[in-house]
């Protein structure tokens, strides 16, 4: 029972299979017949090609060619690959029929494609060798595929001869398809991205650019040529040569300046995009507004082929366009050599020798040298592999010797050579005449001589030479400047210019100088004479002391110094107060309150060894206004004292006056003080501008002291002539020094 049922099922499935197979074979037969008919029609049409005109409605069929052609291409290629690669004698799998199915689909679509292609070829503008080949190969593919299908019984796909035939067929499919592609997209469409970049079309210098060749033609080539060339001359127009462009197409001349719309070319560009006659047709890359303006201006200007851009007025739209396209005023030099090997350039670069191309795309290299200490002649020699590319070298400040000039003369492409402040003496400058392209040579700061510079005139290309700060005399420079051939840049000369020197610099910052310390001075220009005084007199250029070694300070004194040098005016005076450092004070105490605004570091400010800045009353200054200053200085061990120096400030503009009275008391302790000295400074009678450090020295009989008291009284009433008249004056004190 079970077996019978099974047999029945098997039987039924066999039946279904047969039906399907029959249906399939019918389906293929149908297609085969249709394809056969179409191929016959195609051959018929070919035979009577001359008498055939395409009816309008059929043009649509022709234009379907780009749509349908890809089916046969894909299917036939699949078929060929299947047969060539996969088919084996024991192919009894599900896909035994695959090759046949592919081939028959390919056959039908191929004939449709061939038929539509034939009709399309009847349209205007397709007359060329490429078309001819494409047409016949297309027809061949169609016919061959149907022949292959018809004779498939004799071509068992696993046999070698079938594989060879199908392989050959594959080649024909490829070639035919590729030619069709060329026809639509242009000859080099496929491989152009692999070639040199489009941007590398040689750029022209602005001065040498022609309106047609460098501006108009590139636009026409980019936007129009693909449909108006010898292979595809839509509207009968070809534009690949000037003559053809002038001739125009079926519609006649392309331009007519007598018309308001300037003729066909420009009016077609200006038509609305939807208009059928608009050029380039909808879907193609359109011209930019600037390009349309350019073409219109060119046509309007008489469509001349020889006009130079530089002959146009800068106001002309073409000129503006040219500036954009050709890089404005950028007149890049064109080099006729090719670039160096990038790895070589990379290898030769060091941190002290820079080698770079002028720009990313330029073959030309420039070289800069840095760091005098590292430089060797071999560094020039080592560049020889790049001698065909190096156009400029900067060797400023390198120890380049005369014999190195010979090495430099081996770089034939050099345009600019900078040898400023090198050790070159000029003896070998004649060697440079080998550099036939040298335009600029800089020799500033070298020891070149007149006679040697004369030899440079034998370099015909040399335009400019820099000879500032060389040993040449004024007369020699004048002679050179008169020469016509080379422009000599002689630079700035200081011989006749007399300026005031900078004042000397008092290097020593501290003002309390002990007997082991010295005061140092300096001047930025080496060899400048510094003269100084310590006695308060103005230093002069003849009698004052010459500074030749650091100065010892034996008593409180004001150092005044000026600088002098031949060829310069004497400097302004600098001065600074120096104190002879005293006994170290152990502690101090303020008896009266210091003004809270200017309290410094309190009593400690009085013996911190720092003299305050006269410009700023903050920091170490103690300010008093409402009350006197009274303070003690203590010494643990009695000191042999002979004087007390009180450092104070005057800045009348800021209400800071000298004290009216200073008292110095001394003794063994606070209780046994004796008045040792009284100083009564004068109240200023008029304004004294600026700030000054006042030094009061209270001298007395030398004696042993352990405690010293100092009292100072500020001005109680500011005089009438001052803006703050009647008020109390300020008093600033910052240091007490006991010697």
């Amino acid at each position: 029972m079970v077996r019978r049922r099974g047999a029945f099922v098997a039987n039924k499935s066999l039946q279904t299979q047969t039906t399907v197979r029959r249906y399939l074979s019918d389906w293929k037969g149908l297609i085969y017949n249709l394809a056969f008919f179409l191929n016959g029609l195609l051959v018929f049409l070919l035979l009577f090609e001359d008498r055939f005109t395409v009816p309008i409605w059929m043009q649509a069929v022709g234009r379907m060619h780009p749509l349908v052609l890809h089916f046969p291409l894909v299917v036939l290629i699949l078929y060929c690959l299947w047969v060539v690669i996969v088919e084996k004698p024991d192919s009894t799998r599900w896909n035994a029929q695959l090759a046949d199915s592919l081939l028959i689909i390919g056959t039908l679509t191929a004939v449709v494609a061939a038929f539509s292609g034939f009709i399309l070829s009847k349209e205007d503008g397709y007359e060329s060798d490429t078309l001819l080949w494409h047409k016949w190969l297309g027809i061949a593919i169609s016919l061959m595929s149907i022949v292959l299908y018809g004779s498939r019984k004799y071509l068992a796909p696993w046999k070698l001869h079938s594989k060879l035939i199908v392989g050959a067929f594959l080649v024909i499919v490829f070639v035919g398809g590729h030619l069709g592609g060329n026809l639509t997209h242009g000859e080099d469409f496929l491989i152009s991205p692999l070639g040199p970049s489009q941007d590398e079309t040689p750029k022209v210098a602005f001065e040498e650019a022609k309106v047609f060749d460098n501006l108009v033609k590139p636009v026409l080539e980019q936007k129009c040529l693909s449909c108006h060339n010898e292979e595809k001359a839509k509207g009968g127009l070809q534009i690949q040569t000037q003559a053809l462009l002038v001739k125009g197409g079926k519609g006649g001349m392309l331009w007519d300046t007598t018309k308001a719309d300037l003729g066909l070319l420009i009016s077609r560009l200006h038509l609305p995009l939807e208009d059928k006659k608009h050029m380039p047709p909808r879907g193609k890359v359109q011209l930019t507004d600037e390009e349309i303006v350019l073409l219109a201006a060119w046509v309007k200007g008489g469509s001349r082929f020889d006009q130079m851009v530089s002959s146009l007025s800068p106001q002309s739209p073409v000129y503006a366009y040219a500036q954009n396209v050709l890089g404005g005023g950028r007149t890049e030099e064109q080099y006729d050599f090719s670039g160096a090997d990038a790895d070589e350039v990379k290898k030769l670069n060091t941190t002290y020798r820079l080698i770079k191309p002028l720009s990313a795309e330029s073959p030309a290299l420039f070289v800069n040298f840095y760091n005098r200490a590292n430089f060797k002649s071999e560094d020039i020699e080592g560049l020889m592999p790049l001698k065909g590319q190096i156009v400029s070298m900067d060797l400023s400040k390198m120890p380049v010797k005369d014999e190195d000039i010979k090495r430099l003369a081996q770089f034939p492409e050099l345009r600019k050579l900078i040898l400023n402040f090198t050790d070159v003496t000029g003896a070998t400058l004649g060697e440079l005449k080998k550099l036939t392209k040298l335009r600029e040579l800089s020799l500033s700061g070298t020891a070149v001589k007149m006679a040697q510079i004369k030899t440079l005139e034998s370099i015909p290309s040399l335009k400019k030479v820099y000879i500032w700060s060389t040993g040449l005399s004024v007369e020699e420079l004048a002679t050179l400047k008169k020469g016509q051939k080379i422009a000599f840049e002689t630079g700035f000369r200081s011989d006749t210019l007399v300026l005031a020197l900078n004042p000397p610099i008092i290097v020593t910052e501290k003002q309390l100088i002990s007997k082991d310390e010295k005061v140092t001075l300096k001047h930025q220009i080496a060899g400048t004479v510094i003269r100084y005084t310590l006695d308060g007199t103005e230093p002069d250029s003849t009698k004052s002391l010459v500074y030749d070694k650091p100065i010892a300070i034996t008593k409180n004194s004001t150092l005044k110094a000026r600088a002098f040098r031949a060829g310069w005016y004497g400097s302004k005076q600098v001065d600074k107060v120096f104190f002879k450092a005293g006994y170290p004070v152990d502690s101090a105490q303020l008896l009266t309150p210091v003004d809270p605004g200017y309290k410094g570091k309190g009593a400690a400010s009085l013996f911190d060894g720092k003299v305050g800045d006269t410009e700023r009353v903050s920091g170490t200054w103690l300010g008093f206004n409402q009350n006197d200053f009274q303070g003690y200085l203590y010494f643990k061990k009695p000191v042999q004292a002979a004087n007390v120096t009180i450092s104070m400030l005057r800045n009348i503009g800021s209400y800071i006056f000298p004290p009216t009275r200073i008292e110095v008391w001394g003794g063994a302790n606070e209780k046994s003080l004796k008045l040792l000295k009284v100083i009564s400074p004068e109240v200023p009678k008029k304004d004294i501008p600026g700030a000054e450090n006042l030094v009061y020295e209270a001298a007395f009989e030398p004696q042993q002291l352990s405690c010293i008291k100092v009292v100072a009284k500020p001005l109680s009433k500011i005089p009438e002539w001052h803006g703050g008249k009647g008020g109390k004056g300020w008093m600033f004190i910052d240091e007490l020094i006991v010697n």
């Binding site: 692999l194 080698i355 720009s359 760091n371 840049e489």
Partner: protein, 486 residues
């Protein structure tokens, strides 16, 4: 049983093979998408290393820039833009029609009157172009034939900080990369022993405005492009000397070991700032020999000292910075940025401007002459100017010989020299009140675009992608000022 297992181990199945093959093809295709030149042989840029892989888009006219920034805004009406009409109408109110809708600063917005103030300084024409310059600038006047004077700069900001930031970074808000950083990013440093972007500060006695390090920031660019501020003391670069007891070999060894540690951290985290740091250490090591050579002024010939003025030997002065700028530029520093403070003369302008001109006139002119006599002016672009101009009317009380001027963004003067700009020309015109531009305006973006052009860079192509957007120095604007390009 062993053989099939063995086979399975060494063989791949057909399916496996095909999927692997497709993966391989796919990755090759992807690779060629990501690295466009993968399948193109040869050619390309001769890059040196990442820092040096600058790409001028085309051959540059100028290789380097020295920007003499006059911080605080010098009065164009007292220096370059000669307006006799202001003298004629001295004290009369600025006509409404001229002022138009110009917004004013809080300092003069409440002024009842806007009395025009003619310059008290005498003007004369100089050079072949007949450029007007005031008596305050005798040295600059003597090199008028080398200058390209642009009278029609205009900006959008009316206060110092945004205006300064706009000039330096192309945007009024902070934290965009500075001009010098863009150049360092685009072109790299010529000299690997020095930073590509150096900043030098000086201060005049006039009313000053601050400069902040945000003006030489690298913004979102890699921090190797940050401006390096030189100190104005005797040692322009601090802490450059090795400490006592450490010699060069020890230092080298220390840096090598440090670099190894950093490389380890980099491998772990991949933060590019780590490599930037290593590069900075390396540069500092090379700077130890390069910088002392540059900052040593004692080898300069005496004629140089006279030309720049003896002040050039006093560290921290404008003249000293000009001389240092020349030396840095000569050694391949791409962008040297000077700032001279003290031009913000809201009151007492005649006195203040005199002092400022004393500071800058001689040294600015000397810098041009100096570059010229070394054959370097054609490859170095020098720029002189402030962040905006000053008003033609007086701020505060106007007397016969004293006045102040407020900020004026609509028209002001900047000059350039060298670097492929036309020498000896005056570009642009302002109206007879010196208030509005009547011909050839130059916006800050145009100014930037033009300078980049001189350096071989297309301002629209020098971009950096940050937070999903491509940024440019010129933002989304900027036109080349063709009229000044030689």
């Amino acid at each position: 049983m062993e053989k099939p297992i063995f086979d399975f181990g060494i063989n791949t199945t057909r399916r496996h093979f095909l999927s692997k093959l497709s993966l391989g093809l796919g990755s090759a295709a992807l690779g060629s998408l990501l690295i466009p030149d993968l399948f193109k042989g040869g050619g390309g840029d001769a890059g040196v290393d990442e820092l040096m892989a600058g790409l001028p888009h085309f051959a540059p006219k100028a290789k380097r820039v020295i920007y003499l920034f006059q911080n605080g805004a010098p009065s164009q009406l007292d220096l370059f833009d000669y307006k006799p009409m202001l003298n004629k109408m001295h004290g009369q109110d600025l006509p409404e029609s001229i002022r138009g809708t110009q917004r004013l600063t809080g300092m003069t917005a409440n002024q009842a009157k806007f009395p025009l103030a003619g310059s008290i300084f005498n003007f004369k024409q100089h050079g072949k172009s007949g450029a007007w310059m005031s008596e305050l600038l005798p040295h600059m006047a003597s090199i008028a034939d080398d200058l390209c004077i642009i009278k029609t700069l205009n900006t959008e900001a009316i206060n110092h900080d945004p205006a300064l930031t706009f000039f330096q970074t192309g945007a009024q808000v902070g934290n965009r990369p500075s001009f010098g950083s863009w150049l360092s990013y685009g072109l790299g440093s010529e000299n690997q022993n020095l930073p590509g972007f150096c900043v030098l500060l000086s201060r005049g006695k006039g009313n000053g405005q601050g400069v902040y390090s945000k003006l030489w920031t690298n913004g979102f660019l890699d921090s190797v492009h940050q401006g390096v501020q030189f100190s104005s003391g005797e040692n322009p670069v601090l802490y450059l000397n090795d400490p006592d007891g450490m010699d060069r070999t020890q230092r080298r060894k220390m840096l090598d070991n440090l670099a190894e540690l950093n490389q380890g951290t980099y491998n772990e985290f991949g933060d590019p700032e780590i490599t930037a740091k290593v590069q900075q250490y390396e540069m500092a090591f090379r700077m130890q020999t390069a910088v002392p050579e540059i900052t040593d002024m004692s080898k300069e010939p005496e004629s140089i000292v006279k030309m720049y003025g003896p002040e050039c030997l006093v560290p921290g002065t404008y003249a000293a910075n000009c001389l240092l700028a020349r030396k840095l530029s000569e050694q391949g520093v791409r962008f040297v940025q000077l700032y001279h403070q003290g031009w913000d003369s809201h009151g007492g302008l005649p006195t203040e401007i005199k002092g400022q001109c004393m500071d800058v006139d001689q040294a600015s002119a000397a810098l041009i002459t100096d570059l010229k006599q070394r054959g370097l002016l054609d490859e170095t672009l020098v720029i002189w100017g402030g962040e905006f101009g000053r008003t033609n009317y007086c701020q505060g009380t106007l007397t016969k010989d004293n006045y102040g001027r407020d900020h004026h963004p609509r028209a002001f003067t900047v000059w350039m020299a060298g670097g492929g700009v036309k020498p000896g020309i005056v570009y642009g015109e302002t109206d007879e009140f010196g208030y509005n531009i009547v011909k050839d305006p130059v916006h800050v973006h145009d100014f930037h675009a033009t300078i980049l052009n001189q350096l071989g860079l297309d301002h629209e192509k020098l971009v950096f992608k940050h937070q999903g957007r491509r940024y440019r120095l010129t933002d989304v604007a900027g036109k080349l000022v063709k009229g000044i390009i030689a």
